[in-house]
Symmetry: C2
Subunit: 258 residues, 2 copies
């Protein structure tokens, strides 16, 4: 019995189907809070939102008009939600070839007034300098960066408050539990630059204390010294540059100490 035969009998209208399938993207970037010469950097984790236009491209009133929302849009049948997220990120921010990852599905009944709409949430990590050419499009009248500490007090569209809260939790974990911090940093970086990135999501003393962290970085299996290469961009005394290397991480909780 072949699938072809079965398909002749299959009634695609037998089940109620969703009214839409979308992708949302939480675009994170790290912006320097202050940059002074010969000073270690201080950073702040930001998320990019768009403000929904009052009217759509055909001049009709828009859903959730005027509210802040994650960039995103409808998935095309010829692509996956992940493809769609990549495409929309390119269209809406002009950035390409950046770290993008799926982190959740939002399908609670009633989450979107337009009907039964399922959204796949992704997070993206974009170095701030790549975000310079960002611009508003049809649906978005404004594009803006918000510090993660303040973003949840905005008037947010749909269930995006929930998605953003989850996204922030995910990126905080990912920054500490994986090597994605490298996506925020230049290829070669100083210990204080890595430290500044990590301090946007933790206050842990092992990271916050200079001497401890300076020592630690040398023993991390996924970071290596760039032999003989230094910079003075963070201090007067030349400081060692490091880079990330691929390494197997054994994250078992049954090994060594927690």
């Amino acid at each position: 019995m072949s699938n072809e035969q079965a398909m002749q009998h299959y009634d695609v209208t037998k089940y109620r189907t969703p009214d839409g399938y979308t992708s949302d993207i939480a675009v994170f970037t790290i912006v320097p809070v202050k940059v002074e010469e010969f000073k270690p950097p201080v950073m702040d984790l930001n998320i990019m939102l768009i403000r929904r236009s009052m009217t759509d491209s055909e001049g009709r009133p828009n859903i959730e008009a005027g509210k802040w929302a994650l960039p995103g849009g409808f998935v095309d049948p010829s692509e996956t939600a992940f493809d769609s997220a990549r495409r929309e990120l390119k269209e809406e921010t002009g950035v390409d070839r950046i770290h993008l990852e799926h982190f959740g599905v939002y399908d609670a009944p009633g989450r979107d007034p337009r009907g039964w709409i399922i959204s796949n949430a992704h997070y993206a990590i974009v170095p701030e300098h790549k975000l310079s050419q960002r611009q508003a499009n049809d649906d978005a009248s404004e594009v803006e960066l918000f510090p993660v500490q303040r973003v949840l007090s905005l008037d947010l569209a749909f269930d995006h408050a929930r998605i953003i809260r989850d996204a922030i939790r995910v990126i905080e974990r990912k920054l500490l539990e994986t090597t994605v911090a490298k996506e925020f940093l230049p290829e070669e970086f100083t210990y204080s630059e890595l430290q500044a990135v990590l301090l946007t999501v933790t206050n842990d003393s092992a990271i916050a204390l200079d001497s401890a962290f300076r020592r630690k970085i040398k023993s991390l299996p996924f970071i290596e010294e760039v032999k003989g290469k230094t910079t003075t961009r963070t201090s007067k005394r030349p400081t060692q540059l490091y880079r990330f290397v691929d390494a197997e991480l054994n994250k078992s909780i049954y090994h060594s100490k927690i």
Copy 2:
């Protein structure tokens, strides 16, 4: 401008919509390979599959008939995919109140011959004794457990080979990186029972070597001794019982050693 006004203008048919929204569940269980009195257990990680019927409930030829597949089904508009997974697990295996977690979305074009069908994949952990009352239903002519080492050589429906491969990778990581191992164990367990569960997914010497693991279990912050309570179910000499306790795990890769 209110959403009500906008809704009057909204055309729900503007975008092509999916032809279906489903949930799949990779049900894992651990079966004792051999149980002898006064012996430490040897375990094997299994996954539960159903064999798709040749005909559907109305007697017509079924899609992917005769192939092995993950249990699952169509999501109802009044529930989330997660709710649906829990409901279907209850219907198809009779088990309730077990550990269930979403781990991926499968939406590649062409993954299902019936059309544009999006599936949410979940894994479930079910102690074997709860799976006793399992039984076939309309769509499934048989229900069977397969060791994870052999399951991928079966003739699997749709893209379930891919989903199952991902599920196995996920549960292997979860067993070592979180405390879900407790879902496979009785409330109070011996070190060798925990060891047997972990050895289904790793050969690491820190876990495989009795003396090392016996020492280690005492220092794990998420496991505590059940004071003064022992059992002889795994040996002649009475052995200490342990239980899991809630504990904060700091899994940062920038802490201590990897």
